[in-house]
Symmetry: C2
Subunit: 366 residues, 2 copies
């Protein structure tokens, strides 16, 4: 299965198309995060209204709740959550390291205890694939080990090499031909380790390749350097996914380096915290300046929030803790991210990506 078509390039920026079991995804694309089976505060109908093409689910969370018996009973996540477009799932590795009480990592897999009730599990590469194939995600990720930042080179190497052995075991465990599996490049901030990792994955062969272990506290220039290194090695005719990234500027910077896919909790989390991304830059809806403001949150945005309500009302909803406010703000941020990737696709097609990049560097560096 080869899901990706590269349609056009503009510099290193790529306009592509992913053809997946549940539909077509135009790239570059942002994937809203639906951690536990819902993109927080939103419904499938909302997501379609703002043109979401693919959403992400977190295997760790879904494995714990509702659990595999429920997912199996409902014949997969799509039917359970009533989302009929593509889904990508991570392997659960990242959450084990960041949320779970990790007991130990051995060659076989990761021993961890649930952050909810302490119950103990062993997540092996084979189990990570089995869970994700049961979930039925259009794209699933190999189990990898995520090193902390900063990380000594010998630790980074050992961890990366284990991740590559796990990647091979994941590939061997894959049984469903209509679902895609992506490898994950590791190697911390060491360019030669990243290159080794990318080559090891390409030797195994996947339907796509992710860059993992970024957005973990490193500088932007580190992030850009490692992205460059990975994109230089990864195959031109397959999709590239920069995991857990990032701000609007991070996304367009990633595209400028050859990345096709992004996910991040930032739009929904920041929405719930009252920080909004708009065509006019960042807006803190709590600010007193918005108290008597009749204007929309973002005059360039076509989402329900911006087409209907004033900043004054959105501020009021936020300050009074109304759930409706969290919803409306989350909806706008997701709409902003999706419109950003649409603008990026249009710019690549028109050969004007450099202008768009310059515009966003100006907007967000303010």
């Amino acid at each position: 299965m080869k899901p990706f078509n590269l349609l056009k390039t503009d510099g290193k920026a790529r306009r592509g198309r992913l053809t997946l079991k549940h539909g077509v995804v135009e790239t570059p694309i942002f994937m809203p995060v639906g951690t536990v089976g819902s993109v927080k505060t939103l419904t499938p109908s909302d997501l379609k209204d703002v043109n979401a093409q693919i959403i992400l689910g977190n295997t760790y969370h879904l494995f714990l709740r509702p659990g595999m018996e429920v997912i199996e009973h409902f014949e997969g996540l799509h039917n359970f959550i009533k989302w009929d477009r593509p889904i990508l799932t991570d392997s659960g590795g990242f959450q084990i390291f960041s949320l779970g009480k990790l007991n130990k990592i051995v060659e076989d897999g990761a021993h961890f205890a649930s952050h909810l009730d302490g119950s103990k599990f062993v997540l092996t590469p084979e189990l990570a694939v089995k869970i994700q194939e049961t979930i039925g995600s259009d794209i699933h990720m190999v189990l990898d080990e995520c090193t902390a930042f900063p990380c000594e080179e010998d630790v980074a190497r050992k961890s990366m090499e284990r991740s590559m052995r796990w990647a091979k075991r994941c590939r061997d465990a894959k049984v469903k031909p209509d679902l895609c599996q992506f490898g994950i490049v590791q190697g911390s901030m060491y360019p030669h380790l990243r290159r080794e990792s990318a080559k090891a994955l390409m030797e195994i062969g996947f339907e796509g390749y992710a860059i993992g272990g970024l957005s973990v506290g490193e500088t932007k220039s580190h992030m850009h350097e490692i992205t460059d290194v990975c994109c230089d090695v990864l195959p031109r005719d397959q999709p590239r996914y920069l995991m857990g990234v990032g701000t609007p500027l991070d996304i367009i910077e990633g595209v400028s380096r050859g990345v096709d896919m992004f996910d991040c909790v930032m739009p929904t989390r920041n929405g719930r915290n009252g920080t909004l991304f708009t065509s006019l830059g960042r807006v803190n809806i709590k600010n007193l300046a918005h108290r008597l403001d009749d204007s929309p949150l973002d005059p360039a945005c076509a989402c329900y929030t911006c087409k209907t309500f004033s900043r004054g009302y959105l501020r009021h909803l936020f300050l009074t803790g109304e759930i409706t406010g969290l919803r409306l703000l989350s909806l706008h941020n997701i709409a902003y991210y999706l419109k950003l990737t649409e603008d990026i696709r249009d710019a690549i097609e028109a050969g004007t990506f450099a202008d768009l990049l310059a515009y966003h560097r100006g907007l967000w560096d303010k």
Copy 2:
């Protein structure tokens, strides 16, 4: 202004029509409560999807937040919250008694401190009308004193008599001819005080009459008795509003006694607590029985929640604390209440109200 047309009766049940500044309301009707300028978790678009005709705002809450300067700047609540159908506001009295730190009630008005920051205010009948006319509600309520339950007869009488003097002052303070003002019958559980109160209000003359001070801890038979007493006295050709009531059964019982309008936080509050009203009776979505349940919450309901999702998924969303779940459950409960009043209107028109009442007594007494 005479906003009410009585179209048909079936026993004491009444099918009517209210013609208000922002539109027509078919009665009997349930009014979702939008305390601080949003019906909790929902948007105006959601409310229209489930055929909400009129919503309620709480003057006490809106007076404190966003405050009258903001409401005035936005030229009224309708434009601030972007709801273009009718709005009814209470006078703020009930919240002062239940939420605020009440300092004292004197003949002039109620001295109270905000439950938010302790700032002190005096709410007079004149101010209550002025605030509500600034809010621009299609129907506003007179300021009244709410006695606790139970209440000695002499206390109930003194309080009722003061409320009637306040009602007269509210009527004298009313300046906007296109907005309706309702009087509120008080008198605790004493039928003769209720009759006196109703007659005093009718002598002043209002566009409608509410029954206040019920659903405060009295028995159902007390509630029914007092409703009967009030409806027997109140004018046949004007609307009757039973404030703060109640369960689906309370509503149809109220209609059977001649009530036209109802409001209650129960559908949204219970929705957020996981208790749902359905055509099959009460459902606790937390129950383990729903874990693998593919069926809709209510097979007879046409709301987005019931048309789209399974009980199993709704249970999962609720147990994981997802805001999307609170939204979907609130939406259904509001849809249920509005469909109930639609069924009631249809039954009165068809002359089959007695059957519908018997059906609901059977359903909810289980």
